[in-house]
Symmetry: C2
Subunit: 414 residues, 2 copies
């Protein structure tokens, strides 16, 4: 087998990235396609039309996931699903999600053009939602397919303007029972191509990566309560300075994460002090804490040690400490066999590749606990994403499509 991409594919990649990014384009040259918005619907319909032009038979499910099906000859075969998500963050980039959708359509249609009907059925999918940018519910698309979410999980939600989730869904034509029920039991595996959103591949001069694990994420809000007081008239030993305590905690946890040297990352990106005035000791201080690693044991040990130290600092500084955990996403292992297959094929092709961990969340983590799943990365220039500046070179995008074609060929045609 010698699956090749063609100059035509390269041209199509550029054209489709441009076309899709024009739907929901912002004044900053970014893209905003929030779930069930007019731009979101326009994008799904544009993908549908393109899938049909490519000879795929399309259908929506009742939450708005869009499928382009290439029926296999083995009628009893389960479905090989490949794709990513169509929604974006506010003022996001052209590639996050969208490239995985484009890659799946192109791979399936070009396999069909070159090799005809596969033995096993393949479906390209444009998942309705991953980012959680409009409603506070990430992975709605993949979650609805895999049974992680049901309609009732969205029943109480509203967006920041107060529009109820169900109303927005209905106004887009979904959620009324007019389409297939989203939950599936006929999927054999899921393959997702995505931009890395980090700069490891670019720094190492690699074009492609097979992801072995998606990290677990624990997110916390840390609140410290001390005593506001006059910066001039309060001696140092009378103080209950919440910002001083917070600073010691932040310095500690980031330092400890650096010392791990096992891929663990810890980030404090948000801080707020009150009253936040230069000549008043901060009575209250609150900061975010985001800790990620691909092994549950490592996360457990790190968090335990961190919070023991936080408690000691709080006691020493006479401030009260409240920890609120609001996310606990377990690490997910991608299918080792699919990962290995990908790397073997990349090796045969002479593509500079890497096996790596994903530090960001993806639909693949929802599929990964449901069916064998492969997540594959192409480089992100400078690691920038969720920004209009998101960029990946066309030659790297082409490698992503070609690798997907090769893996799909092996799974569906051999």
């Amino acid at each position: 087998m010698d699956v090749k991409s063609t100059p035509a594919i390269t041209e199509e990649i550029d054209r489709m990235v441009e076309k899709l990014s024009a739907i929901g384009r912002t004044k900053n040259n970014g893209v905003t396609r929030l779930l069930y918005s007019p731009a979101w619907l326009e994008a799904q319909l544009a993908v549908k039309e393109r899938m049909e032009d490519m000879g795929l038979s399309t259908y929506f499910d009742d939450v708005g996931n869009l499928f382009g099906r290439l029926e296999g000859t083995e009628k009893s075969s389960r479905v090989i699903l490949t794709g990513s998500h169509i929604d974006t963050v506010v003022d996001g980039g052209k590639f996050d999600g969208a490239f995985g959708v484009i890659a799946s359509m192109l791979a399936v249609s070009h396999l069909f053009q070159q090799y005809g009907t596969p033995r096993r059925t393949i479906e390209a999918v444009s998942l309705c939602e991953e980012e959680g940018s409009r409603f506070n519910l990430s992975f709605w698309g993949s979650g609805s397919i895999t049974g992680k979410y049901r309609m009732k999980d969205a029943a109480e939600l509203a967006d920041s303007k107060g529009v109820p989730f169900v109303q927005a869904m209905n106004e887009s034509g979904f959620g009324k029972g007019d389409y297939a029920q989203p939950e599936r039991d006929d999927i054999s595996c899921f393959l997702e191509t995505h931009i890395e959103q980090g700069e490891i591949l670019e720094r190492e001069g690699k074009s492609w990566a097979a992801v072995s694990h998606i990290v677990g994420q624990r997110r916390y809000t840390v609140h410290l309560s001390g005593e506001s007081n006059h910066a001039g008239t309060t001696p140092m030993n009378f103080r209950k300075d919440s910002l001083y305590a917070a600073s010691q905690m932040i310095a500690h946890v980031v330092h400890a994460a650096k010392n791990q040297q096992n891929g663990l990352v810890a980030t404090v990106g948000k801080i707020e002090a009150d009253p936040n005035v230069g000549n008043v000791i901060a009575g209250e201080c609150q900061f975010s804490l985001d800790i990620r690693h691909h092994e549950e044991d490592v996360l457990n040990k790190f968090c335990e040690e961190t919070f023991r130290e936080f408690k000691e600092i709080a006691e020493k500084e006479n401030v009260s400490l409240q920890l609120r955990q609001w996310m606990d996403a377990a690490p997910v292992r991608m299918d080792p066999q699919l990962t290995r297959t990908g790397m073997e094929l990349a090796g045969e092709e002479g593509i500079p590749f890497k096996k790596m961990i994903s530090g960001a969340g993806h639909d693949s983590q929802v599929f990964g606990v449901y069916c064998p799943t492969a997540l594959m990365f192409v480089p992100s220039h400078k690691g920038i994403s969720h920004s209009p500046k998101e960029f990946t070179r066309t030659e790297d995008l082409e490698v992503g499509v070609r690798m997907l074609m090769k893996i799909l060929y092996k799974l569906a045609y051999c």
Copy 2:
């Protein structure tokens, strides 16, 4: 000499504190009297009326300082000036500034009642402005008397609503040359009574303090510039985390201040990160730094060591560091002879007293470089000030008035 306060004085203190605090009262039961506002003018006119009732001859100067004069028999004598400021912060307390004005009126008028005309002229003063809460110009009242400020220093200023300083001054009737020029060369000394705004006196069970020095204050804005990046996909060793660098600096400087144990205080009360999002490494971070001590050498050494360490942290964390100093107020020594006199008189009277440093700024620091100056404190309950919760017991206020009477008697009558 046996200067006594009387039950009548105690009653008058309470009545005058209540009366003055009703002018500019806020819904939180605080007081807002911003320079040249209607409440400010009403308060000055109420003080003027009260001074006249007490037999003092009153006059304004052209910036709105109000004087109540008790002419001495020695016609050539220079003026003993005593008072404090009438303006407040937004939603401030009943005592900050106002009590010093009240104490000066009561002391001068009761000395006159008890001992008649003094040898040397005394003036009680209600200074127009100290806080800098409306226009960014503190000590306008004392600064205008001592020549620190002239009209041109206010020419370009406007308040947060865009009202020019000069317009506000004119609308109150001042700044048009209708009153005496503010700058004076006939003042022999200045005496100010003020609430401590700290809790040292209360904790130590003292009723009164003679202040030996007002601290020098250095205030900075520290800006750190690193690189915003994804919290999941950016390995720890690729990061330029400005909030991590800031945390190390804050932890360092506050720890170093605690270790000084010489009265130095260092405060970081304000912090801002950008983009200030939990799952994004903070590219930019800015924090305030407020350092105070009563000896210039100590300030110099501490600041030098602090900023050397800040530079090392910035280099280590790969962030750029900008230090902007926006206040450099030198320490001011109160007159040692006046301070000693005060303490001797307190000792004779059996008043539990203390000699202490003022960590807050006061009009006395402006007078202190111009003429012999004494600053005296009464306790602040829990150290709370600039708040509707500001409170001092009447018996402590009475000590403040009595001590002022005793010192004035010594200076003006003996």
